[in-house]
Symmetry: C2
Subunit: 379 residues, 2 copies
């Protein structure tokens, strides 16, 4: 199976490495950066292709020469890239997390007969599958909450935080109103609000606050109460609320001594050296999904927990492991035809297929990403 | 007595009003702003003079036509203004708080035979007088600590803080290393460090941290332990340390998408609307000076406390009251010849004269600025 991986950054290169180990895939690494391509070859890519990923025309032509495409490009070009791949008629599994709603491409994908699984990381991604699986297994789901976060293991430093991607994307997430569902209605709250403390074995007391992470679930899930909360070390929300409150996350240019400055751009610029994972910096991924569901007369509370750590052997960040291996698990399902729904599939659709769900969880487990499940009957 | 008040901003105009009420002064208000001059006339100024205060030549000529000058100009032009006034041969009382050490002008002032009292506000100012007074009254002083701060009465808002002057000056204070004296040695610590909580009757628990406020005392006082600490509502130091730590107080330009931005300038720009006292916004000034001194075999601990509030009747901020009325008290001493030392006098020199000290405290009391003193014999 010929797979093109579009974008071989931190996550893309973990995807290349994992698919290359399978033996069933011929992996083409695609990127604009020669250095990134070089690294991808060392990770086991079969070939490399230097390409401006911002050019949908070129992306479409390249996609047409492959059996399957993995989209791992930066968010701002995620949607146009996905559209170009679908138009080329090639199946695709995507983790680009564009700001646009990928479900807008559903008709196009169906008309072309393409299988496109989007938002296919850990959260969104695995978290959606957990909900899809539970929705199918039970009569109805009453409540869904996903706590999720990536953290540096070393708590030193001013922010007790590092980001494996650009600070400007984190800032955007903290600035954007966060949609959640309450009593069957979609509501909007401030990101960083609804702050609570949660205990995580092995990490101690953490904090969690509202963020806009439900994405496709707002359209697809019939659950009267849903929210996503981001996990950080305690104090982070207050720090970010301060920066946001003073206007530092703003996108409107401000006149500073006669020159126009976009506060958010300066903020991101100052945070890059403080938030960057350096060589050997370890991270951890925490996810806790709580689902209250009813079957017949029994109410149950399902708790799925994931705690994954940096892989020191390969130098792979946990964020790349959990995102990348969820993606490759679905790549296998699509490549083998086990998942073949035509159109746009958010991960909850994959989760509704019990066989597919078990396959993803099994693939993750084989890679050391262990999802623990507990169920308590409530009545 | 013809007095020129250079700079009639918040503090300068309170000085104009106070001197005008005396009846002994003909007060010329001097400023570049026509609006500020208009307000000063309403405060009782005898005449107004529009002038570019940044031009020392013009300042010198104007000073020569007066018997006494009050310097209340922005810090950056404070030193050059003071120098020009001294060169004109006119006595001066100054509250401009320049970054430069005014004692460098001592020889010039002595040679011209001018009486120049500098740093003549509340702290530096009144605090220095308290130390000067105690040094003269006792055999030796072992310890001096000045806690001081101006706070908004309304604790609402992101920062629980407002500044009656430009945020960029506050930022500079938080960024500059803070000098203090320990075991007879001048040491340097980070501003915002040595954080402690203090209780102030009427205001509750406040916080205090090291700032670089000793100024002339570093040269003039023979005290083995001295420090100045700034008072704020709790949490302020942590907020400022965050902004400083992320580089937002830096003065080095940073490249943001091809344009050079000085982080401190953007920070100040964003803080202006958040820190500005609006019409009717009330402030409070807190000062607590602790002095440990020995006379014969008796060790005593003197505590001087001041808590002053916004004057709603005249709309005068407490910061302008405490700074301005200390200044006008010394203006009266110099105008009447009760204080006539030629050269540069920091306020501790004024305080060493018991009669002058009592006169200042009396003038302040008459204006409702009440300094309470308590003494405890330690052994």
């Amino acid at each position: 199976v010929r797979v093109a991986v579009l974008g071989v950054g931190r996550v893309g290169s973990a995807i290349v490495a994992d698919l290359a180990r399978d033996g069933n895939f011929e992996v083409t690494a695609v990127d604009a950066s020669a250095a990134a391509l070089q690294r991808a070859m060392l990770q086991g890519a079969t070939s490399k292709q230097r390409l401006d990923l911002g050019d949908p025309g070129q992306v479409g032509k390249l996609a047409a020469r492959h059996d399957l495409v993995v989209g791992a490009v930066p968010g701002p070009i995620g949607y146009q890239t996905l559209e170009a791949v679908i138009q080329s008629g090639t199946n695709v599994v995507d983790i680009s997390f564009s700001a646009e709603n990928p479900l807008q491409l559903a008709e196009l994908a169906e008309s072309v007969g393409v299988t496109a699984v989007v938002d296919c990381g850990v959260a969104p991604g695995l978290s959606n599958m957990l909900l899809g699986f539970t929705e199918t297994a039970c009569d109805r789901v009453e409540r869904f909450i996903c706590y999720v976060g990536g953290l540096p293991v070393d708590r030193g430093g001013l922010f007790q935080y590092k980001a494996p991607f650009s600070p400007i994307d984190v800032i955007a997430e903290y600035n954007r109103p966060a949609r959640y569902v309450e009593n069957g209605e979609i509501k909007s709250g401030a990101a960083l609000s609804q702050l609570e403390q949660i205990e995580v074995a092995g990490l101690g007391t953490l904090e969690a606050f509202l963020t806009d992470g439900l994405r496709t679930l707002l359209d697809t899930a019939r659950v009267p109460d849903m929210r996503e909360k981001t996990i950080r070390y305690p104090g982070h929300a207050a720090q970010m609320a301060l920066l946001r409150g003073m206007g530092l996350f703003g996108q409107e240019p401000v006149d500073v001594g006669g020159i126009n400055v976009v506060p958010r751009e300066l903020a991101a610029r100052l945070l890059i050296p403080l938030w960057e994972f350096g060589p050997g910096d370890e991270d951890v991924t925490v996810m806790r999904v709580e689902i209250a569901a009813v079957s017949g007369s029994v109410s149950s509370r399902y708790v799925f927990e994931l705690l994954d750590r940096y892989d020191a052997q390969t130098g792979t960040l946990s964020m790349a492991r959990t995102t990348g291996y969820t993606c490759t698990a679905v790549v296998r399902l699509v490549a083998s035809g086990l998942y073949s729904r035509s159109g746009i599939s958010p991960p909850e659709y994959v989760g509704r297929n019990a066989g597919c769900f078990e396959s993803v969880v099994g693939d993750l487990k084989a890679r050391g990403v262990d999802l623990r499940e507990s169920v308590a009957a409530l009545r």
